[in-house]
């Protein structure tokens, strides 16, 4: 048995809709992940700092108010600047076109509303296994 995988979850910018991320945190904990939840209103630098300090295996960011492109661009840029390769998931109310654009930009996956627990865990596991391989 290896140590549980650690995932850092956070909300970024001024958006404060947290039902999704709180629910996802609980789903991932039930699936055996160790979850660190950073709360609301984080900037890219704060997310980066905690990700490094806590040595996490992945980051998950949730959006509901239309700032997903701006905030994800910033976060992914910071991660690249530091030469890190932490996979970053994002989820929430995100139009299809933007979801495609986010994947191209380097998001590990984009998880959309109406995803059941089993599917969420399957998507996250798949990426984590890919990273490990």
């Amino acid at each position: 048995m290896t140590a549980p995988k650690r995932i850092l979850l956070a909300k970024m910018g001024l958006d404060c809709h947290d039902t999704g991320i709180i629910t996802v945190a609980s789903m991932l904990r039930d699936a055996g992940y160790e979850v660190i939840y950073l709360g609301l209103h984080n900037q890219a630098d704060q997310v980066m700092k905690v990700a490094i300090e806590e040595d996490v295996d992945a980051i998950g960011i949730s959006f509901l108010s239309g700032q997903h492109m701006t905030q994800m661009r910033r976060l992914l840029e910071r991660i690249r600047e530091r030469g890190l390769s932490i996979p970053v998931f994002c989820g929430g109310v995100i139009p299809e076109d933007d979801a495609r654009a986010l994947r191209q930009m380097g998001a590990a996956d984009v998880i959309l509303p109406g995803t059941l627990s089993s599917e969420l865990v399957r998507l996250v596991d798949a990426t984590m296994n890919r990273v490990r391989a």
Partner: protein, 548 residues
Amino acid sequence: MGGRLASSHAGPARDSEEQIFETGAGLEIRELYRPDDIAGFDPAQDLGEPGHFPFTRGPYPGMYRERIWTRRFQVGFGSPLETNERIKYLHSQGANGFVITIDLPTSYGFDSDDPLSDGEVGVTGVPISTLEDMETLYEGFGPDSVSYALSIRPPVSSVTLAMLASVAQRRNVPFEKVIGTQQNDPFYQMSGGPLQTITQFFPLEGTLRLCIDNIEFISKNMPRLNWMVTNGYNLRETGVNAIQDGAFTLGHAFDIFRRARARGLDVDLFPRRASFFLSCSIDFFEEIAKFRAMRRLYARTMREEFGASNPECWRLRFSVQSAGNTLTRQQPEVNIIRAGVEAMAAVFGGAQSIHLCSYDEAHGLPTEESSRIALRTQQVIAYESGITKTIDPLGGSYYVETLTNRMEEAIREKLAEIDDNGGMIECIRAGWLESQINDERIRNQNDLDTRRRTLVGVNRFQIPREEEIPLKIHRIQAEQWGARRGEYLREYRVSRDQGRWADAMARLEAGWRSGENMVPLLMDALQNKVTMGECHEAMRNAQNWSFR
């Protein structure tokens, strides 16, 4: 909360599908309701006449026969000018009231050019940073002729109230003629509701003081302006059930009323124009019963516990938005039906104003097309269905009256629990509310995962992704909007009289320290071109508080 899961409520129906015979909040639903289920029910005591104590049948005597509910339209994006143009168009299309959504920086009291506003300007609503911005929003309409409800909360709502009062002054509209709704819920305006949303950028005690300042200013100066006590909508959207919704909403209102009374405000005066913003979810009869029960419980509490003798202070009035959290990303057209069911429940429940969510809610911000369908849905109910033509048509139904009684009882029990914990504000401070919310969120997800609850298109009756109909998407231009607003504000700050600005800032800080009502001081500041963000900065300084 007991009674959520009881196997006796479940059983196979004739088509062998497993059904669960309970409401969304877990109240048992029996096979048939008969006269003896409402034994002891006294129509004179428990129903009364519409517009009379205890208001079970509706807050007004004539209800929809006299006036169809306000069909509110949500609008707000980009800039005050674009938003005003959109309002003019919608007004010509038959919308007669507007919920003005505010962008996130404005919601937190930041000007569009604040570094924290980067990427968020104009996205979820209109940015308002100056008195001039508010004047632009009212271009073509007087504050006595069109009803706006700004989705805002204290501390910011004190500034927008001061803007509204200033617009009225400049247009020579007397305060007593100003209409609309001033949202004034310090806690729930920020969707989600963790305490962090309230405390991160402004001290909690200061926010509560401004909430009471607003109530005082409105009740003494603007007798026709509604002020929203509780944003029960956002609270419900976190995932709590209908009983919690009713109890948290009313518990919060009673706490705020106690504070207003402690300020010396008259309980026969200030609640007159109090109003509520509530969610109407998909569980049809439970929602109808919730509205009827809340009205009755409010009337009884205001009369018996608060000792109000003015009937206007017993009357709970509310606007409704259909439940965004019942809508799905999958097969989004089905959401039009969901919103239709919810709108009918709101009408049977006696709502004063309704706003329906657009069917593309789970994809992005609404488009013109999806907002129009939401308005048309209401128009079909209002003008075609005929359900508005008699008052409280479900009154006297064995089932609806039983459920109304049970909801009132359940909400009352939950309220007692809140009181035992020191009242709603204390429940929020202590994290009790947040843990109640989080328990429900997990339970809701679990109910979907296990198919205990059906969500069409999500856990049953799905279609492959490629069969989904593509949607039009509302385009966000955050970067351009932000840049334009930045330029505007630079110009605004440079061109103002710096001496008058500095004096007004100093008066704000001094007024805060001496405990004055801040609304007139904010009017003075705005008229001297202090921006909204600067007003907040001055009030934070006066509290020796900083977050930056």
